[in-house]
């Protein structure tokens, strides 16, 4: 029989595609805190700008709703990496982030922020493939994507425009009709 992580339930609630690593870090934490390992990880404001554009490729603005950039994911990702992630994953994130920036120069001869949307999509496709080829071991792409999903679908834009937010339903109807194209409930 299959051993299934209980936290997949939270994955269902939060938007589906969150990796086991991130679930482990963020929601189940029988990880022993080791004070000696604590690093202080600080982000530059340009890093936030890059991460905002990066997340915008993962969840871009569409006709129906704004994208991750507008939802503030660019500042959300650094905040969570800094305060919620253990040092070993922070390292992996930072290393992968720097490698991605280097890759832009070698592949496109440009800085990340100067890439066209098409070029960024190509880049993203390669990062995705690398992660798949590496058995979905923790990587910068995996972590950044997970946090984009989390950040976006918890944001006001994600909850109230992409999805439908009902602060006080007032009743429960377990037999309501689902209309074609109807948005998902945010929570």
């Amino acid at each position: 029989m299959e051993r299934r992580e209980a936290l997949k339930k939270i994955a269902y609630l939060m938007g589906g595609a969150i990796s086991a690593t991130t679930m482990g870090v963020l929601f189940e934490s029988f990880t022993v805190y080791n004070p000696e390992q604590r690093t202080t990880y600080s982000f530059l404001s340009t890093d936030e700008e890059i991460l905002a554009e990066f997340s915008e490729i993962i969840l871009p603005a569409t006709a129906k709703s704004p994208g991750a950039k507008a939802a503030g994911v660019g500042t959300f990702i650094p905040l969570v990496i800094r305060d919620c992630y253990p040092p070993n994953l922070q390292e992996i994130f930072k290393k992968g982030f720097d490698e991605m920036l280097a890759k832009c120069k070698t592949k496109f001869n440009k800085e990340f922020l100067s890439l066209s949307t098409e070029e960024k999509n190509v880049l993203m496709g390669e990062l995705k493939q690398e992660t798949i080829d590496n058995n979905k071991e923790p990587s910068f792409f995996l972590i950044a994507r997970d946090l984009t999903l989390l950040g976006y679908f918890s944001s006001e834009i994600g909850c109230t425009i992409a999805r439908e937010y009902l602060p006080i339903p007032g009743k429960y109807d377990g037999n309501a009709d689902y209309l074609p194209g109807q948005k998902a409930w945010a929570t």
Partner: protein, 567 residues
């Protein structure tokens, strides 16, 4: 001298209640309503109903880190952060593990809420009666001691507490799950109804599936508002729609004007008077100032949560009670139990793609125990029930691995293609003498008190039961037509269900138990213990309703005895 006499008088009450949680709040209400002047001592801070529910109305984007836990929180709460109950939204309602350490001889996840209301603010609210079989099983199979009561003794008290607390549910006439005094039941959704029908048909009604019996109001009740289906109960409810000390028992007690609540009051021990052979009162450490002080009363109710209460009793030593107050039997600290869960099955239910739930029901379905009953014989003792639910989340099978982009975002903005149905088992744990707690004098907490050591593990009966909890669930879901059914066991350690009970058990024989059939100490007639510590067995039903009933019953007896001058 005048000052001392005045202070003593000031500190003297008719009754002291140690703890303000689910059972402590009831003791305060019952005793004050019967005319006693009561002092309720709570070791933690005050939390005022509605006013202090800081996160109750917060949107997802207003919760720090969108709900993720920080490394700092894990540092200060290494135990509380082991599982789901500790959340960013209610993080200040869980104990700081570093200030209040304990010793784990074997892993025991001890979840504690140190504040007025205790865990009644964060509890799961499922409320089920114990049945006659539960009260008889100890004597039947020889594990644990005989309960000194039977269902008929507690039935009127279940009626009484259900009517006040407001429990919504559906009567089913199931022998192992007695009916109750219910408010209208919450609705099952279309998938649950279908699964119910198919399971009951397949097993020829030898198993039933019913809506959860929950301490959430489906109609306004005694001045409290009805559930608004936000499913954020553990943040505190601004509508007062679920039972807690704050929403229910405390206002009733305060209305009598006979209740004093003193927070920041850690009870270190009960003061025993060797001349009267009764408790005189309690010694308290003020958790903010570290001052010590004494309070006196004619009766003491111990409701500090199972292990909190037993700690106080073990720590209350004297010449007459060298091993803890009322511990002539040697049973104090022993027979610790907790349910076990985190195993079951889940599957996809097709055919309801044109349906979607409106509202977030703070309740699930329940399959009451059917094992080791009538013709259903198992290779282990006792049994389990299931909690479960069907939902339509955001899992989309057509999404490619690690996808991204505009189309991907659109897909995730809609609900999943199909519904999933899950069943999670809750299993009974046998009472084992060797599962115990004792005081560890080698460690100190923030206030210089020794700490509790816990030595407890699940054993063979529990392990065998878990296999069935998985396979039965999978079999039932398949019988109901679910696809891709997967069984799981995520592993469980004692403490995780937060239903820890035992260690100061009731019994008829003073040589084998700490309390008599009235929750009264055999050896100290004015001390009553009515929280989880009093339980001789655990059944598989969520226990809090039983604590409420035992508390109300014991208060009734205690006050009658007090009036007759028997105690």
């Amino acid at each position: 001298m005048n000052i001392n006499t005045d202070l003593k008088k000031q500190n003297t009450y008719d009754a002291i209640v140690i703890g303000s949680g689910i059972s402590g709040g009831w003791a305060a209400k019952e005793l004050t309503q019967k005319g006693l002047k009561v002092l309720m001592l709570e070791r933690g801070k005050n939390i005022e109903h509605i006013k202090d529910y800081d996160s109750a109305m917060k949107a997802p984007w207003e919760i720090p880190y969108c709900g993720e836990l920080t490394q700092e929180q894990k540092r200060t709460h290494p135990v509380q952060t082991r599982d789901y109950p500790y959340q960013q939204a209610n993080e200040s309602w869980w104990v700081n593990d570093l200030e209040c350490p304990y010793t784990e001889d074997k892993r025991f996840d001890w979840y504690r809420g140190f504040h007025v209301g205790g865990k009644s603010l964060m509890w799961g609210r499922q409320s089920y009666r114990f049945s006659d079989l539960n009260f008889e099983e100890n004597i039947k199979d020889g594990h644990g001691n005989d309960w000194p009561i039977r269902y008929k003794d507690i039935a009127p008290w279940y009626d009484y507490v259900e009517k006040f607390a407001g429990i919504s549910g559906q009567n089913e006439g199931w022998p192992l799950l007695p009916d109750g005094q219910f408010l209208p039941p919450m609705d099952m959704n279309c998938v649950e109804k279908s699964v119910k029908e198919r399971i009951e048909k397949h097993y020829n009604k030898s198993r039933i599936l019913t809506i959860g019996r929950t301490a959430n109001l489906t109609v306004p009740h005694l001045g409290r508002g009805s559930c608004q289906y936000r499913n954020l109960c553990s943040r505190g409810c601004p509508f007062g729609a679920y039972f807690s000390t704050q929403s229910s028992t405390l206002p009733a007690a305060m209305a009598t004007k006979k209740l004093t609540v003193r927070p920041y009051s850690i009870v270190n021990h009960i003061i025993y008077d060797k001349d009267t052979k009764k408790a005189k009162g309690v010694m308290v450490i003020d958790s903010e100032t570290n001052e010590t002080m004494e309070f006196y009363a004619k009766i003491v109710f111990v409701n500090g949560s199972t292990l909190g209460s037993t700690f106080v009793l073990l720590n209350s030593t004297s010449e007459a009670h060298p091993n803890g107050l009322g511990n002539g039997s040697g049973q104090l600290g022993h027979n610790l139990m907790d349910h076990h869960f985190r195993c079951g099955a889940e599957g996809t239910v097709q055919g309801f793609e044109d349906k979607y739930a409106y509202g977030r029901r703070a309740n699930g379905i329940y399959i009451p125990r059917y094992q080791n009953f009538k013709d259903d014989k198992r290779d282990y003792l006792r049994g389990f029930g299931y909690q479960g639910a069907a939902s339509r989340g955001h899992w989309h099978k057509e999404v490619a691995e690690l996808d991204f982009g505009g189309d991907f975002k659109e897909i995730l903005s809609r609900p999943a293609d199909s519904w999933t149905m899950g069943l999670g088992g809750f299993g009974e744990m046998l009472p084992y003498y060797e599962n115990k707690v004792y005081i560890d004098h080698s460690k100190k907490d923030k206030w210089g008190q020794p700490v509790l050591a816990i030595d407890c593990e699940y054993k063979e009966n529990e392990a065998k039961m878990r296999e069935d909890m998985m396979y039965d669930a999978a079999e039932m879901l398949e019988a109901a037509g679910a696809k891709n059914v997967k069984a799981y066991d995520n592993g469980c350690y004692p403490g995780m269900t937060i239903h820890e009970m035992g260690t100061a058990r009731m019994g008829n024989n003073p040589k084998e138990s700490v309390l008599n059939k009235w929750n009264q100490m055999h050896e100290v007639s004015n001390v009553f213990v009515t929280d989880g510590s009093c339980m001789p067995s655990s059944a598989c039903q969520n226990p809090s309703l039983t604590y409420m009933a035992l508390t109300a019953r014991a208060c009734d007896y205690a006050v009658k005895e007090l009036k007759k001058k028997n105690i």
